[in-house]
Each structure stands twice: as structure tokens, then as C-alpha cells.
């Protein structure tokens, strides 16, 4: 059973559709008391960093519960898109601290000639790790991205996938039980399906 956290931001319907398609039980939850019992967590997110953090902070007991699940119980957690950026300490997009579960920060894409921000559309992500999340992921798989900020990790050993958009950035990261993907696996055909399947099997 996968618990998709609903804190008021994110395209939850698509994630649930994809889990249903691959035969994995998933439910949307917003109550920290229920989230306490979660076995696996997906942290989605669309929108601005500070809005998301303040939505999470606003729910009494939410941040404590999430911290406990991530750092004490160490259940598998997957941040998607903005959800991945929330795993970092901070973002150039806002002032609020992030969850800080992975040593990294979130930066704005540098201005680059001819490249539009947001980075929107299908792009290649190349796996560079033997992490279980990368099982059966073929090289040159394509994924759907929509983002104006990217994650810069402190330790390259936490990189799972690389993508090039003017700069080379980490499009998937992982540290122990915590994972993040910058693209939308729920909207990336069989390529994203494989990643969600891998996550479900962790």
C-alpha cells in the first residue's frame, strides 16, 4: 500500500491512475494520524516551494509525522517534481526551509541562450546508479519534465539519474530510503511506469 500525501498541491489523480494501472494499491491521505501508519509514501507537488512548505507546516502534526516516517522509521519515500525539491534544505524560489532529508539545495535554471524556462517537455534521463529504483531502467529513457528549478546535491554519490538542459543536472536522487525524481513518472508512459513499479517493490 502506497500513501500519496495530499497537502493541497499536486496532481494526485494522475498518480493514483498510474498505480491503479500497474496493480499497486495506493490511497490519497491528508490526515497525519493515518499517515503515521503508512508503509510507503509518495510526496507529490506542483507549484511554488514556499506555498508547498507552508501548506505542509499548516497541518498540525504533519511535519513531525513525515520526519518520523523518513528519518526514524525509514520507510521508502519518493518525492515527485516539486516533491523532490522539498527534500532539500532550501530553494532559490522561496525563503522557507525545506524538509532537508537529502543534503542538497534547489536552484533556478541559469539563463541560457535559446533555452526556455520552465524546462517543459520530454527529455532523456540517464541512470548512473545501481539503486533498486533504477532496476530495468533502459538508457536513453524519456520522461516528461515541467520545472524552473533544479536540485543540486552536495554528494554526487546520491545521484541516480542525469539530464541535460543547458546544464547537466540530477533528475533523480536517492539517499538510503529517500528518493526524488524531478520528472513526472505518472505521465511518462512505460518509462515512468517502470520507476513507480520499482518503488512499489522496494
Amino acid at each position: 500500500m502506497i500513501t500519496v500525501i495530499n497537502y493541497g498541491m499536486g496532481n494526485l489523480g494522475s498518480l493514483i491512475n498510474m498505480f491503479k494501472r500497474i496493480g499497486v494499491k495506493a490511497a490519497i491521505e491528508s490526515d497525519p494520524e493515518i499517515i503515521k501508519k503508512a508503509e510507503k509514501i509518495v510526496l507529490p507537488g506542483v507549484g511554488a516551494f514556499d506555498s508547498a512548505m507552508s501548506c505542509i507546516n499548516k497541518v498540525p502534526g504533519m511535519i513531525e509525522t513525515l520526519n518520523h516516517k523518513a528519518l526514524v522509521e525509514k520507510i521508502p519515500i519518493l518525492g515527485v517534481c516539486l516533491g523532490m525539491q522539498l527534500l532539500t534544505r532550501c530553494s532559490e524560489e522561496g525563503n522557507l526551509p525545506g524538509l532537508g532529508w537529502i543534503p542538497a539545495s534547489t536552484l533556478r535554471f541559469p539563463k541560457h541562450q535559446g533555452l526556455k524556462v520552465p524546462h517543459m517537455g520530454w527529455n532523456i534521463a540517464r541512470p548512473n546508479s545501481t539503486s533498486k529504483l533504477m532496476l530495468n531502467i533502459i538508457d536513453e529513457s524519456r520522461y516528461y519534465f515541467v520545472h524552473s528549478y533544479y536540485v543540486l546535491i552536495d554528494e554526487q554519490s546520491n545521484s541516480l539519474m542525469k539530464t541535460n538542459y543547458g546544464i547537466e543536472f540530477d533528475s533523480a536522487i536517492g539517499l538510503q530510503n529517500i528518493y526524488g525524481v524531478q520528472f513526472h513518472p505518472e505521465k511518462s508512459h512505460r518509462f515512468g511506469m517502470q520507476i513507480l513499479q520499482n518503488f512499489a517493490k522496494l
Binding site: 491503479k20 506542483v46 526556455k116 541535460n164 505521465k187 508512459h189 512505460r190
Partner: protein, 252 residues
């Protein structure tokens, strides 16, 4: 690097998919859910569903059909048709759509652009501009599914859309739509020159070369395809299809 997005654009009319020529002459294409399922299997980049009757008949978005469509889509989908408020936009986002498309109601109430962009981000908002040549040869913006004249000039309106927070522009030439004769390269270039947000070229695609032209000559960021992906050939029967990846390589 990103590949150019090629977006099959399906027209919904009373729960069926149809295809038009110059916004008229409806031909039946098929059942929405089955058609979308095929596009999903073909692994298309993105999909756009436009309900061409919603505004005309003052209907709400048909959430039942839209939800059935979303359940078959493992790629980004956009919906347009009859959205006139933030609440209606929310209902569409909630059932699994990434983007919404607004045309008439962005003209009637331009503040709606800001309101939706503020809540959901510009990336979730496509503003559609339908353009038709008048009897003097001047290209002006039309609303209400092409039926209503406005005084808006396409380039100026596009610039205002960008200023108000629209994330993308779907630019349709009514004169070219459904003709298979190629895009209005001049119109599309005039708009891509004036804005920095992505412009999706729509109306007239009949072959890969047309797509190549509009990307290379008119700087379109993405291309919407209608007839090409639902018919075998001009004047021929329905065949849901999508150009092979190898053929699209030239466009990159």
C-alpha cells in the same frame, strides 16, 4: 535536449470525437476513450482535448467523459472548452489533467488568466488564440469557436497573454485548419517573434515537412496535429496514427 512536442489535438462534440475543416464540416472520428487508449499505446508526447461545443452551448466541462479519458492517459493532457472560472479549472486539474486551455473566457475576462496562473502556475495554463482572415485580408482574433469577431490583433493579444501569466499559446489558423495544406507560417512567426512563452502551432499540418517548416521557419515550440493523426490521408477514412519517432528526428 528537448524534442519538439507533437500534440494530437482531439475535438470533443457531444461525447464523440470529430474533426473539422475550417471549424466547420464535422466528421465523426470515434469514441473518445478508445481513441485516447490508442494514442497512449502509440506513446504520444502529449494530448489535447478540446470540447468545441461547451462554450457555444454554455455547458460545463463534461467531467465524466474527461475522467474516462484521463484514466487512459499516461502522458500529459490538456483540456479546453467552456472553462470560465477557477473552480471549473480546479475540477479539471483534480481528475488528472496537467493543463487547461482557455479561449473565449480569456477574452471576455482577461483577469481569469492571472487568477489561474497564480493558483496553478503558468505552466498549467494554455491560452488559445483562433485567428481568421477578414474580407480585407486582415488577420484578427475570433472567439466562441471561431463564430464571433473581435477587434483583437493576434500579436498584441499574445503579448498581453504573456504579461498576464499565460504559460503557452495555442495558435490556430481557422483558414488553414483541416486543409492539410500547411501552417500559416507568417502568422505563427509574427507571434513567436513577439513573445517568449512557447507557441503551439495549430491548423493545416498535412505532412512531416509542414511540421519541420513551422518549427524551423516560424520557431514554434510545439505542434498540434488534428487531421494527420486521425485520418489515413486527406479525404480518406479514419485511422488513428502518429508519425514514427525516426521520421520526427529531422525536426529536433
Amino acid at each position: 535536449m528537448l524534442r519538439t512536442r507533437i500534440i494530437p489535438t482531439l475535438l470533443l462534440r457531444n461525447e464523440s470525437l470529430v474533426k473539422t475543416v475550417q471549424f466547420r464540416k464535422f466528421s465523426y472520428v470515434g469514441d473518445p476513450t478508445n481513441t485516447v487508449r490508442i494514442f497512449n499505446e502509440l506513446e504520444v508526447d502529449e494530448l489535447m482535448i478540446l470540447d468545441i461545443n461547451a462554450t457555444k452551448n454554455n455547458n460545463q466541462p463534461n467531467l465524466k467523459v474527461l475522467k474516462e479519458i484521463a484514466n487512459e492517459c499516461f502522458m500529459p493532457i490538456a483540456y479546453g472548452g467552456g472553462i470560465r472560472s477557477l473552480n471549473q479549472a480546479k475540477a479539471v486539474f483534480d481528475i488528472g489533467y496537467e493543463k487547461i486551455v482557455i479561449n473565449t473566457h480569456s477574452i471576455v475576462n482577461p483577469e481569469l488568466i492571472e487568477e489561474i496562473a497564480k493558483h496553478y502556475g503558468s505552466q498549467a495554463l494554455i491560452i488559445s488564440i483562433d485567428v481568421k482572415k477578414n474580407i480585407f485580408g486582415l488577420k484578427t482574433v475570433r472567439s466562441n469557436g471561431g463564430s464571433k469577431k473581435t477587434n483583437l490583433e493576434p500579436v498584441k493579444w499574445a503579448m498581453e497573454i504573456e504579461k498576464r501569466g499565460g504559460g503557452e499559446i495555442l495558435l490556430t489558423s481557422i483558414d488553414n485548419e483541416g486543409t492539410w495544406n500547411g501552417f500559416d507560417l507568417e502568422l505563427i512567426k509574427s507571434v513567436t517573434d513577439a513573445v517568449t512563452i512557447p507557441v503551439i502551432a495549430h491548423g493545416g499540418a498535412g505532412c512531416i515537412e509542414h511540421i519541420e517548416q513551422v518549427v524551423k521557419k516560424s520557431n514554434a515550440s510545439a505542434v498540434a496535429l488534428g487531421s494527420m493523426v486521425v485520418f489515413q490521408k486527406k479525404g480518406k477514412g479514419v485511422l488513428v496514427n502518429f508519425p514514427e519517432s525516426s521520421k520526427l528526428e529531422i525536426i529536433k
